[in-house]
Symmetry: D2
Subunit: 180 residues, 4 copies
């Protein structure tokens, strides 16, 4: 690979999805969070709609880059390869750190500020897979990943809300099997 060339988008995309998978997070896991957050507001919403929205969010460059950076830092911390004191800050999931929230928030905001509420809720209540990832209660370092999964779920929720509104205004009722 010639180092001076920009990385093709298709490689960035593949690498971001591979990183998620390697860390044990499936699109279905995140789709389940989205469904949990949105089903009461949207009659006819299925898990498949939610997984599809997660897939769409993962096609965005901003989200892919955020995942690559965050997961790299988690993995380097697991292997004890960061310099001190950053190694310890990330390993202990320091509550006042904030760079994890900043990176996640940047990715959420590409879907508008209405996703921030969902992101904040997920970051606090650690729904579904986010709870299993919590560095403080489990094995491994997931200081960035839990925030990033929350960001993907919040972005997908925001995308769904916008799309479903557009459909409603066109007189289309959401139903199973429909592409949102």
């Amino acid at each position: 690979m010639d180092k001076k060339q920009p990385v093709p988008s298709v490689e960035v995309s593949k690498a971001a999805r591979a990183a998620l998978e390697r860390r044990g997070v499936t699109l279905r896991d995140i789709g389940e969070i989205v469904y949990e957050m949105q089903y009461t507001y949207n009659e006819g919403l299925t898990l498949d709609h939610c997984i599809e929205a997660v897939d769409a969010v993962l096609r965005k460059r901003e989200m892919q880059y955020a995942l690559l950076v965050g997961i790299e830092l988690d993995e380097l911390a697991e292997k004890n390869l960061l310099s001190q004191p950053l190694q310890q800050i990330i390993e202990t999931d320091e509550g006042l750190f904030g760079v994890d929230e900043t990176i996640a928030l940047g990715a959420v905001l590409t879907y508008g500020s209405v996703g921030v509420t969902t992101y904040g809720h997920l970051d606090k209540h650690k729904v579904g897979i986010i709870n299993q990832l919590d560095t403080k209660t489990n094995e491994g370092v997931h200081t960035f990943l839990d925030d990033l999964v929350g960001a993907i779920a919040a972005a997908a929720s925001s995308r769904l809300a916008h799309r479903i509104r557009d459909m409603e205004e066109s007189g289309i009722k959401l139903a199973e099997g429909m592409t949102v």
Copy 2:
């Protein structure tokens, strides 16, 4: 008042506090939300510490300006003085609007990104006075105010978390009557 002169900070500050009061929100109301969010993490925390933190947050220019703009828009909407369709958008607290969240978020971020979680949680769960302000379930228009009260509470929580950490590191244990 000469229109070409900048408004003195003391007038901005007074006007922002007066606007909150006029809309029926006291520093104690917001302090109670902060206490509710923080007491489990901080032994020795009292309601007075929380009210003091709210007071400190209200001394920040960014927060004062955000309050002046948001409350003005709520009040103009109540008086039916906005042009259409903005009048209707604010009056109905349109879910996809987002400018209310943007302004509130801007003020939260002056206390760092760790406050975003608290803000998102409050915006979703509408703790305390925020619930009473919710435009969709009550009289009056509070489309901006409920987000702004959440922002003040989140900023005050973040301020407390930073200050209490500093005290702990200096070997000081939080107690009643102590200035944080």
Copy 3:
């Protein structure tokens, strides 16, 4: 108009474009700023590509809502209809105000953080129509509008940069008459 119904998206969109036009800003004016910012980086870029990108940005709900709020506040200030001290703060385009930047920034960030640089540059150097709008040197109040026009131009620049990269990676060379 039934006040309790949400405003249809098509009305929000029309109102936002009408507001821009009423304030003397055309898509071509903003397109010219985008062209000025981007032509050195993109061989084959024409003014039409830039106007098309501006048009796409104006189809986004976040941008439409930001325009409606900002222009409303500018117009209310021109008519002396805001309460004090907000009237004077907006009328004098107070340098430390920041709510104008916050609203504009929220809209830029929906195109990712790479647009922030362009936004900051435009806000400082007041290229093209932005200079003519500057409240401090001209008639009328444009405290929000100049920031919003900068936000639209920055968002359109960011959109173009992403799209042109995608085309390049597919082996397509940008040329006149091509849809970006």
Copy 4:
């Protein structure tokens, strides 16, 4: 060092300043950028006032954490220790990356949104030391550092603007040797 304890603030602070120094950036270098940006607006402003403002900004936890993360990633990229494709993305200072801008912007926003303009300007025009750090034209990898230096300078400029306004309103005229 016990890995399960939070890192004391004093260590975080020392590490952030040491990282800047190791990368060849002095407080004076950043102070000079601040002076360049602010002297025309503030009569009596000296380079010492600007260096003092930079020092104050570096006492903020958000800025320290941002520096630790960004410089770590630059240094890992220099040593070729990141996994692909992140290694190449950071090494080539990919224009659409954006995580560098996101982290820098998060730190700027703790001083309010008025700093965003200065940050954007610096990121585009690469004043002073920022130009020497530009990864694309020089030795070494400074993909994050140039944005972080711009963020520190923008935050310090914003801090000065707020403080000087407060002094003016108290009838104090800025002069050499005075603490801002």
